[in-house]
Subunit: 207 residues, 2 copies
């Protein structure tokens, strides 16, 4: 599965369940490639209900669906993949219990990247590129230069850049040659999510 | 798999990783049947490391290992089962993604029990029997009478009673005819966990 392009991370606080029916098809039409469900609070029941609604609209729209951290939710929902951070289940364990899932792994340093790559993920999420307010435990920003340096170490594994990426700084990110960009606030908190998706993708042409 | 007998719930705060090598074999020798890993905080990596250590000592001791809530952890660890609460993944979803796991479901009321039974769990955890300090969101205590009434509604499905059960009130719980008793504080916080296990099991003879 091709994970290049724009990944839009959503959660029930930023995109309430009632908005999914318009939000998900709108970002798909605007050109997003992946929607990632990232839920850090609340019950499994609520998360599964949210995920079911995401799948309901993502499937006909042709979006890939990735679940952050929870392999069991990804399996129960029939999602396409799971994204695991440095403190989540190791990629090798995910492969063992869920051989059909696409697996992305996060890295923010050269060491973390080497560890992530050793496990053979389908893609690596590298960041934070810029300062971000969406992830409390994110490290110091890499900047486009740091991103470019780390990306080179990823070799043939697709890199998805994350962290504080917005329409006005996205061109510098695409210019590093990354396969994809992942955003939280830039789309999920936008007044017009479809316009934000288009602007993030148009920035690729300016890169 | 037979889930009757004593279930001992543990977590890294009550039973630190360094104590597992003595704690787990000791409760097994004293007669416990199941050790349940119940982790509500911290990272998946830390939980999987803890669970791996539990399995390391539980397997040779012949204890069944059940994981609370996290089906993905149960699968990755190669545990015997998973226990799901009212707000966790529904039993039917667990069966679908993890057909080999023993599945227990919690119920505290007649309605919850009917919903849990409809999904065909391997056992039902019913409680709280008594007032408990170990579970903040536990409902009003059922008392042995309420437990007995609810247990009758479970039909042939084994009932494991939980909630505030100690050596000095366990006889009244066993007297209701439950297949098993689950404890947190009574063993994990005991100065002598093996003695506590023996006392909880001896209470069955007084019942």
């Amino acid at each position: 599965m091709d994970v290049s392009g724009l990944h839009v991370l959503i959660d029930p606080a930023r995109v309430p369940p009632s908005r999914l029916a318009t939000f998900v098809p709108a970002i798909a039409r605007a050109g997003a490639r992946v929607v990632q469900i990232r839920i850090k609070e609340g019950s499994a029941r609520a998360a599964l209900a949210y995920g079911t609604e995401v799948l309901r609209w993502a499937r006909p729209a042709g979006l890939l669906v990735v679940v952050d951290d929870r392999v069991d939710w990804a399996l129960a929902l029939g999602a396409d993949g799971v994204h695991v951070g440095q403190e989540d289940m190791p990629v090798r364990d995910v492969r063992r219990i869920a051989p059909g899932l696409l697996v992305g792994a996060s890295a923010g340093t050269s060491d973390e990247l080497a560890a992530a790559l050793a496990d053979g993920p389908d893609y690596v999420g590298i960041g934070p590129v810029f300062r971000t307010g969406s992830k409390a435990d994110a490290g110091d920003p890499l900047g486009p230069e740091g991103l470019h340096r780390l990306s080179a170490e990823a070799g043939p594994v697709p890199v998805v850049a994350i962290g504080g990426i917005r329409p006005d700084n996205a061109a510098a990110v695409w210019a590093t040659g990354v396969a994809g960009i992942a955003v939280i606030a830039a789309v999920a908190e936008a007044a017009d999510p479809a316009s934000a998706v288009r602007a993030l993708l148009h920035a690729r042409n300016r890169a």
